[in-house]
Amino acid sequence: MKFLCISCDTVMDFVERQIPGDGTLAAVFECGSCNKEVAMLTNPMETQLVSSMGVKIGGREVPAQPMELSRTSMEGGKAEVFEVPESGLPEHQGHPLSVTWTPEAVGRLDNVPSFVRGMVKRIYTDWAQQNGISEMNPVIMDRARTELGLEGM
């Protein structure tokens, strides 16, 4: 999928993606020559068509998680099927920065369905590590959620 600015004959660049939560999606593209912006608006069916491929328009802020499509698309997933690590800390995979979760952040994580909890925890922790943040608290979670576009997580 590419957007071409006909006036400038220039391929437009992806700028941002917004997911309002009603199943629709807005993706903004800008012409690098004339700075004109266009928004691609998709209805829920079109949004689903793209997301059913397991891809994100505009690219991924975080790497794809194991069985992400299954976990986020299934209705009626079994709550306790995925074993979440006891420590509240996911594996750090050798990253030098360890992220501590405050009790409030862990409490908020407990509100996430366990079907996706381990995956969500990894996403937040990876984001914190990449941003040099050593403590995860609700404020940081809000910031990460906004930056990563993790509505509902």
Binding site: M1, K2, F3, L4, I6, D9, V11, M12, D13, F14, G23, A27, F29, P44, M45, Q48, L49, V50, S52, M53, G54, V55, K56, I57, G58, G59, R60, A64, Q65, P66, M67, E68, L69, S70, T72, S73, M74, E75, G76, G77, K78, A79, E80, V81, F82, E83, V84, P85, P90, E91, Q93, F115, G118, M119, R122
Partner: protein, 299 residues
Amino acid sequence: MRKIRTYQDVSHSTESELLEQVIEQQERLADRLSPIKCLVAIASGKGGVGKSAITANLAVGLASRGFKVGAADADLNGPSLGRMLNVSGATLGDSADGVAPAKSPTGVSVMSMELLQSEADAPLQWREPSLGGFIWQSSLETGVLREFLGDVAWGDLDVLLIDIPPGTDKIKRLLELLPSLDLMLLVTTPSETTRFVVAKSIRLAQEARIENIGLVENMESHVCPSCGHVSKLFGTEANEEELPYGTVSLWGSIPFDPRLGASTDEGRPLISTDPTAAVSIALQALVERVSEHINGGAQ
């Protein structure tokens, strides 16, 4: 009419990165499957021929011979391998590297949609939108199947058995997904209708250039449990040269025994619970043939 450049004319990336993400998915799948020595698909095209029961017994038979065996249930809408391999209710380890498969009492690594569903009798359903499912459902289910194969930490298995649901389209979908396939076992019965459908599956596999295709004729006869008399279950016996299977060789002939279905449905594959039954002996012959294939022996 003005000339607008086509997609192919434009080399510049939009950073939309959809294609790149799809390629990355394929690479992840290939990386996951690369340590597995042998990928085997069990299919038919026709339903109700005993694919899953044969898959479960084959898995247990191979595991009992010391092979590291995995079984992936590609039937998302009618999963049965979880129950047949006695892993219903199992939890799955969750790490950044992948989801750990369930382990059956017989040592088989299993992944099935049944493990993910909260209610055993609930049909598989997807979240929004409620309309237009016919447009996106196939692509979503293919994506989930890709995750079953590529996001499950199978490890360095000797063999991964993939149980494919009915429908030649399902076979085609799997073949397009997999980077390669070592063996396709097509389960047939002596029914004329089944032969007709299996012939289509053979053609599909041959057109996809699958080098090793084997037929497994299930319910080829019935052995009377009282007197041992062998009779045919179907009245459509055909001469070998009349069968629509071409040069595809027969890898197994499995007699009908009601205990095969009953025992396997209970999570106790007959091959392990009654190894002296005629059907178990026939299944062991199939296990032997597949073992040789895994070890690189006779094709």
